[in-house]
Amino acid sequence: MSGGTKRVATVEARDEAAPDIALITLRLPTPALVPPPGSHLDVTVRLPGGDETRSYSLVDLGHDDGLLRIAVRRRRDGRGGSVWMHSLTRGDELEVVGPVDEFPLNPGSAPSVLLAAGIGITPVLGLARALRSRSSDYRIVYAGRSREHMAFAQELEAAHPGLVTLAESARGGRVSPAEVVARVPRGGVLYVCGPMGLLRDVRRAWQQEGRSPADLRFETFGTSGDHAARPYQVTVERLGVTVQVPVGTSMLDALQAAGVEIMYDCLRGECGLCRVRILESDGPVDHRDVFLSSRQRAEGRQMCACVSRIAGRGVTIDC
C-alpha cells in the first residue's frame, strides 16, 4: 500500500460513535498536524493468519489537539480487521502509516455534493469542513438505517445547518442515485463514500446523464459487496490448481498461497492488474472493485482477484 514510515500509535480513547461503530482516538509519538481533508491512516491489524493492513479515513471533528481519530464499524462477516480494532482499549499500541492524502477535494470552487452511506461518513466530515471554509456551494446527503445508528449525524447537522439531508431507511428514507445525480449542478462534483452497490448505481446514473467521469469522485477500500462473503472454491484449469477461498481471504491471497503467480498492485480494486478471466462460475460474481465498467461487469468474463468474490460454490478461471 502506501510506502510511508510505520509509527507506533497509542490508543488514547475508544468511544462509541453509534451502535457497532467505535471512535478510536490515537496519539502519535509527535503531535499530528491537522491532516488534509480526505486523508486516511493505514493500520496494521493483528489477525490469526498474520498481520494485514486496513485503511481508515481520519475523522475530522474540528479538533486541533495533535491526536488522530478514526471510526471503525464492526463487521462480523468481514476479514477480522474491524473485530480486532474493536478489541483495542486505552493504552494499546498499534502500527500506523500516514496520514495518507489520497482523497483530496478538487481544487477550485465547483459546486459539490457529498454523498455518504453508513460508515462512509468518515471522510465526509473533513471534506465538508474544507468546503465550508472555502465558502463553496455544497450539500451533504447521508444515508443510513436510522439516526441512532448513523455516526456523527448530529455533529454534521450542527456544523452545516440546513445543508445535511439524512435518509433513514428504517423511516422510509431512500437515496435515489438518479435523484442525487440530477441535483448536482452542471459542472459540479459528486463525492461518494459508501458501499460498492451504491457507488455502482450512482456511477450508472452519472453515466446516463452524460456527466464527466472525472467529476464523480469516490473512495472505497474495497471491502463491501452485494452479497455476504462466503467460502468458495477457485480452480485454475490451466495449472490444475484448485484452492479454497475462505471468508477473510481474497482470491488473490488464496491463489498466491497455492503458488500461483498473479500480478497485482493496489489491492483495493482500483488498478485492474489482478484481473482474472472467468471461464465458468456457478454463482454470481460479487464485484467489489471500481476498475471494471458496468458493461464489463455485465459481460461477466473477468473479475479483480484482490477484492471481488464469488457468491456461489466455485469458479474456474484463467490467469
Partner: protein
C-alpha cells in the same frame, strides 16, 4: 529557504499560451498553459502514471494529454481519460496549483491552496497602469534568489558595477533611511544637487532637451516578502520641488523586480522598467529595456560568479557592512515567514547574518 505560502511569478503573460511551458518553481516541476478561454493553468509536470514530464504531451481542448500513454488531465488536475480501460482510477490526478494573472505576469502559489488569496499578489501595478509605460525581461540566474535581493537592496554597487550607466560618487556618501515591518523593508535615499548619471541624464534630455544643470536624484527601494523589490527612481532639476513632493519637472521610473526560486542555487528573475512620460513612444520603451538589460547583464555575471565563489569556499562565511542592512532585513523577514510556516524557531540573527552557508545549503 523560501516560504511556500506566497505568490511567485511563474512567467510573463505572453510566455503562457496554447502550448506547454515547463518551468521549475520552488523546486517543483510545473507545466503552464492556457485553456481555450485564455485562463492560465499550472499543473505538476509529472504524469501520475509513470512520472514522465507532461510538458512533453499535447493539449486537447482544455485538457493535457500525456505524450507517452495518453493519460489525460483536466485543468483541475483530475484525470479524465486512461488508456485501455473503461473506468478512471479514483486516485488519478496531478497537483493543480492556484494561478492568478496580474500585472502582466502569471503567478503561482506553491503552498497550501486554501490560503491562495489573490489579494496577496505583490503590487506591480506600474506594469499595466495606463499612466506608466515600459517593458522588461526574464533572466535565468544560477544563483540563490536571495543574492538578487541583496543586490537590489544595496544600490551602492551601481557606482562600481554599473559605472558606465548609473554611477554617482554620492551613492556611497548618502546613507539611506531604513524602515521595516513584518512584511517589507523600505530604503529611501536622496542625492541633492548632483550631476545626473548617463542613464538618467539621457532620459531627462528627452523630456527637457535644454536643461544641463544639476539634479536631485532619488532611489526608494521597497522589498515585499518574499521576493519582490520595486524601486522608485528618478531625477529632477534642482529647485523644481522634487524632494518636497513635486516631481513633475523630472523623469520618474519604477524598476519592478520579482524573483522566483527555481532549483537549489537557481532562480527566475523577472524585471521591468516603467516610466511616466512619453508613454506612447515605443522606441523609447525599446531603448530603455535594452539599456536596463545591459545593466542587469552586468549583475547576472556578478551574481552567478558570486554563487560559484560561495560554493568554492565552503568554509567561509559572509562579513556584513552597513550597506547590507536592506538585504539583511529582507533575509530576516523571509526567515520569520519560513519559520512560521514550518513551525520551527526563527534562525538566530547571528547565524542568519553569516548567510553564505545558508545560501549554499538550499534554494
Amino acid at each position: 529557504m523560501y516560504p511556500l505560502n506566497a505568490w511567485y511569478a511563474a512567467a510573463w503573460d505572453t510566455e503562457v499560451g496554447r502550448t506547454l511551458l515547463p518551468r521549475t518553481i520552488c523546486e517543483r516541476p510545473v507545466v503552464l498553459y492556457r485553456t481555450s478561454e485564455g485562463t492560465p493553468v499550472a499543473l505538476a509536470d509529472a504524469c501520475w502514471h509513470r512520472l514522465v514530464p507532461l510538458s512533453m504531451g499535447r493539449l486537447d481542448g482544455d485538457n493535457l494529454v500525456c505524450g507517452y500513454h495518453g493519460v489525460t488531465y483536466g485543468p483541475n488536475g483530475r484525470c479524465t481519460r486512461m488508456p485501455a480501460q473503461e473506468t478512471l482510477n479514483p486516485s488519478a490526478a496531478v497537483t493543480s496549483y492556484p494561478v492568478v494573472e496580474r500585472h502582466r505576469y502569471v503567478w503561482i502559489w506553491p503552498g497550501d491552496p486554501d490560503r491562495a488569496d489573490p489579494a496577496l499578489v505583490p503590487d506591480l501595478h506600474w506594469n499595466d497602469d495606463p499612466a506608466w509605460a515600459g517593458d522588461g525581461e526574464r533572466i535565468e540566474l544560477d544563483c540563490d534568489y536571495r543574492l538578487v535581493l541583496d543586490n537590489l537592496m544595496d544600490l551602492t554597487h551601481e557606482q562600481f558595477l554599473h559605472a558606465d550607466s548609473l554611477a554617482n560618487d554620492e551613492l556611497s556618501d548618502a546613507e539611506p533611511d531604513v524602515a521595516h515591518d513584518a512584511d517589507s523593508v523600505t530604503l529611501t535615499r536622496w542625492m541633492h544637487g548632483i550631476e545626473a548619471p548617463p542613464f538618467l541624464a539621457m532620459q531627462l534630455r528627452r523630456k527637457s532637451p535644454e536643461y544641463r544643470g544639476p539634479v536631485d536624484r532619488w532611489q526608494i527601494i521597497r522589498f515585499t516578502a518574499p521576493s519582490t523589490v520595486t524601486i522608485d527612481v528618478g531625477v529632477a532639476p534642482v529647485g523644481t520641488g522634487a524632494p518636497e513632493g513635486d516631481r513633475s519637472a523630472g523623469v520618474n521610473g519604477h524598476v519592478l523586480n520579482t524573483i522566483t526560486p527555481a532549483g537549489p542555487g537557481r532562480c527566475h528573475y523577472f524585471w521591468a522598467f516603467t516610466r511616466n512620460y512619453h508613454l506612447g513612444d515605443q522606441g523609447l520603451t525599446n531603448l530603455l529595456r535594452q539599456n536596463v538589460s545591459c545593466v542587469f547583464g552586468q549583475d547576472t555575471d556578478m551574481l552567478n560568479a558570486q554563487q560559484r565563489a560561495i560554493e568554492a569556499n565552503p568554509d567561509h562565511e559572509f562579513y556584513n557592512l552597513n550597506i547590507d542592512i536592506g538585504g539583511m532585513w529582507a533575509r530576516r523577514i523571509i526567515d520569520a515567514k519560513v519559520a512560521a510556516e514550518q513551525g520551527r524557531e526563527r534562525t538566530h540573527p547571528t547565524t542568519l547574518a553569516s548567510v553564505a552557508a545558508t545560501t549554499r545549503r538550499s534554494a
